[in-house]
């Protein structure tokens, strides 16, 4: 799990173009949106693309993202459970 979390952080940094950030800067329990990392609805769409591209998970409804993208940890758990690749 820790490995997946670390890899996911790297992928998030790349997908969202968070220049100057390292995986260590992201608290896996902190909220990705709003107060935490300060991401927004477009980032959520990018994360949906990331999940489909890298893990074969297809989300049809963007509002589903709200639950899944609560934190990196929650996202990793969801991926662990649902990944097809």
């Amino acid at each position: 799990m820790d490995e997946l979390i670390y890899k996911l952080k790297q992928e998030i940094i790349e997908a969202l173009n968070l220049e100057d950030m390292t995986p260590e800067d992201i608290d896996e329990n902190a909220s990705l949106f709003g107060e935490g990392l300060g991401l927004d609805s477009i980032d959520a769409l990018e994360l949906i693309v990331l999940m489909e591209k890298n893990y074969g998970i297809k989300l049809q409804d963007p509002t589903q993202g709200k639950e899944i993208f609560k934190s990196v940890k929650v996202m990793a758990e969801f991926i662990q459970k649902n990944r097809t690749k």
């Binding site: 927004d40 609805s41 477009i42 769409l45 949906i48 693309v49 963007p62």
Partner: protein, 399 residues
């Protein structure tokens, strides 16, 4: 109250017709032009679209353009609409050196670039299409088909491009820069923006349902429309027949987000308010609002709020005509302005098709065919980035 700007001709091409008569017939009979994809080559067959029911080759033929000519779909549709507008206003080629042309587009020649991009990078095939990629080229190509205009430029404010082209043309006339300016916009559907809107997850796989509780996104459309704007002096001089009056307009920026509208509809509110103030008209005098009404969850909430803020409990009858045509993006401002002129002239309220249940905090759109004498219509066009514009179109009444 400022000097009126007269509209002495208009032309329109969209999924519901190749001219005003066909469009009027569809609007009066609630016949939508949105359906399965037929012309655009894309994998995304799941999305209904409002395509103009002609291939590029068929359009070239109608326009008398040779088969081998370098053209773009946006320019071809523009030519069809411009031809109708010029004919109605009795504008001849000889008059063009005194006339301005302002057109709106965002896609420009992207329909060609997306087909030939890999060739552009690696070989010389189709390199003659490279120079038609940019938006300005589309306007130049459209204008040149008819002759030599005095002035040509291109607005590109995404889905409000054509509305802003109308505003620039009106300002030019009011400044005495020209007596006649032909304004509007054109945009074809491309794989590029179909995929773009899809990546933003705002396309509906079912026919769009603006202002409905179950709305789930927009359908893309395409088309073109142009209006001939003319000063009072010129109208008198050449005894031109007035179709309608552009009595006000407003442009404001929502300044909220690149792709989302603010919850309180600040930009929309300001644009509509400015249009009314310019015309010197009270909120109670507006007979109908042709809403931007895309059918995305976000737009329709925001626009409803803006209307409620401006009109209070007395929001005039309003509807979105996008279920007829799909969202014609950069051309929507002028296409819907022509629909408003048809509504003024024929005394009816266009129906908001596909509506069945009220959304939370939303307006209840016109959902039954209604005959009504109309004097003033607000026509909204909002673009990405909060580029919001509103036009006030009025019936011409001989004093």
């Amino acid at each position: 109250m400022t000097d009126p700007i007269y509209i002495t001709g208009c032309g329109v091409v969209s999924a519901i017709g190749l001219n005003k008569d066909e469009s009027l017939n569809a609007l009066l009979n609630n016949k939508s032009g949105v359906g399965p994809l037929a012309y655009l080559k894309t994998e995304h067959k799941e999305f209904p679209v409002g395509e103009v029911k002609l291939s590029d080759a068929e359009m070239r033929k109608l326009l008398g353009i040779s088969e081998n000519a370098i053209t773009t779909r946006t320019a071809l549709m523009g030519m069809l609409a411009l031809d109708e507008a010029m004919k109605q206003a009795e504008i001849t080629t000889e008059m063009l050196p005194e006339i301005g042309f302002v057109s709106g587009t965002t896609v420009g020649g992207m329909d060609m670039s997306e087909q030939f991009y890999l060739d552009y990078i690696s070989n010389d095939a189709h390199k003659e299409y490279i120079s038609v990629h940019d938006c300005g080229n589309c306007s130049e190509m459209t204008a040149k088909h008819f002759g030599n205009f005095a002035f040509v430029t291109t607005l590109s404010t995404a889905c409000s491009s054509a509305a802003n082209a109308i505003i620039l043309g009106a300002n030019m006339i009011r400044c005495g820069e020209a007596e006649i300016v032909i304004v509007g916009g054109s945009e074809c559907i491309t794989k590029f923006h179909l995929n773009g809107f899809n990546s933003l997850m705002i396309l509906d796989t079912k026919p769009c349902r603006p202002f409905d509780a179950t709305r789930n996104g927009l359908n893309l459309g395409e088309g073109a429309a142009y209006l001939v704007l003319e000063s009072e002096k010129s109208v008198k001089k050449r005894n031109a027949k007035i179709q309608a009056v552009l009595s006000g307009y407003g442009n404001a920026c929502d300044a909220f987000h690149q792709t989302a509208s603010s919850p309180d509809g600040e930009g929309a509110y300001r644009a509509m308010k400015e249009a009314l103030e310019m015309a010197g008209i009270n909120t109670t005098e507006v007979d109908y609002i042709n809403a931007h009404g895309t059918g995305t969850p976000n737009n329709d909430v925001s626009e409803s709020q803006a209307m409620k803020r401006l009109f209070g409990d007395n929001v005039p009858p309003a509807s979105s005509t996008k279920p007829f045509t799909g969202h014609t993006t950069s051309a929507s401002g002028s296409i819907e302005a022509v629909f408003c002129i048809l509504a003024l002239q024929n005394g009816f309220l266009p129906v908001n098709l596909n509506y069945s249940q009220a959304m939370d905090d939303g307006i209840i759109p016109v959902h039954q065919s209604t005959k009504k004498d109309l004097k003033h219509i607000l026509c909204n066009a909002f673009g990405f980035g909060g580029n919001d514009s509103s036009l006030l179109l009025s019936k011409f009444e001989q004093k």
